[in-house]
Symmetry: C2
Subunit: 201 residues, 2 copies
């Protein structure tokens, strides 16, 4: 069976955005990374910054979440009796299921592999790489200072892992949660794209 929905999970700096974009272009299917954040922001009435932060990184403390809820009121588009990270997760989960129903696409991050794990038409990808290569990439592409690159990467990966483990019953980065995992620093971006394209057919 062809794998028409491709989810991409990734370590910070491993090239997940680039790989996902290239795969979507070669397969001629929609690409959801920042676009997903935009839609959740529109639907929830929260800012894109809030969605980007709370929707993929470690859930904030309960106290912080309650304060955020209070500042937004308890009525974020009818999901008002939940704390903020849970509200955002609910919006994201609904949207990711909708997108998969709609047709072939590439979705980056947001626990999409877990949300869609019951579908048999998905290729769940996890990208990782060695620290040096990832440092170079965040300096070149994310405008992070070289002196801060490693701390930046470790902080984001730690928060992403905590977020994933909060909203799933799985450990982030365990091979068995994905159809295929690739070391982008050993294989290079082009081979990662080719491999995903070949396995999606």
């Amino acid at each position: 069976m062809s794998k028409k929905i491709i989810t991409i999970s990734r370590q910070c700096g491993s090239g997940g955005h680039t790989v996902g974009k290239l795969v979507s272009e070669r397969l001629g299917i929609p690409f959801y990374d920042k676009k997903l954040i935009e839609i959740v922001a529109q639907r929830s009435g929260l800012t894109e910054e809030t969605i980007a932060r709370e929707g993929e990184f470690a859930p904030a403390s309960l106290l912080y979440s309650i304060a955020m809820n209070l500042s937004h009121g308890y009525d974020v588009r009818s999901k008002g009796n939940m704390i903020l990270p849970d509200q955002i997760n609910t919006f994201q989960t609904e949207l990711i299921k909708e997108l998969a129903e709609k047709g072939p696409c590439v979705i980056v991050g947001r626990c999409a592999n877990y949300i869609l794990h019951d579908r048999s038409d998905c290729l769940h990808v996890y990208l990782h790489g060695d620290m040096e290569e990832r440092k170079n990439r965040v300096v070149a592409e994310h405008r992070v200072l070289a002196s801060e690159a490693e701390a930046h990467i470790r902080d984001r990966d730690r928060k992403r892992a905590k977020h994933y483990e909060h909203f799933t019953d799985q450990r982030w980065g365990m091979a068995q949660n994905y159809t295929i995992c690739l070391d982008s620093s050993v294989l290079g971006i082009e081979k990662c794209v080719e491999t995903i394209e070949a396995l999606s057919k």
Copy 2:
């Protein structure tokens, strides 16, 4: 750079032996699975059964190891001042490094990905799959009773993980320890073989 040494780590029943053998045949390079056990047995003077059991599964308790050492004497081919699992691990490590030095090959199991992690000419593969598919495979290929298949798989995976974590500083099955991880139950054996072959070139 081409990846001439291919190491294959695997969950029990995920088809690691079959995939490794097919890859070695297609690339025309030696295949070390049972053969590796035979060589370590010859060199150490221990039986193949002992090497198979102690060389990849959880190290036995210290008491058991001491009893085994006593029954073999403290002189297993000059590595006499170590307990048995450590002796076997030392033989295996030496042999795996030798094989990689000698030329292209496929090596299954035995922490080979960790032992060779400093070489840049290796493709480290991890295979996994869903429980149903793995149960079917161990019943068909390993002559395990259907009623005992799941317990057999869980026991072997648990012991393999403990062994790996005892002799490395890594967690078994974490994607970042391997160049590529593949779900053989979703992709099928043939696609796994094709992918490894393509990435080794």
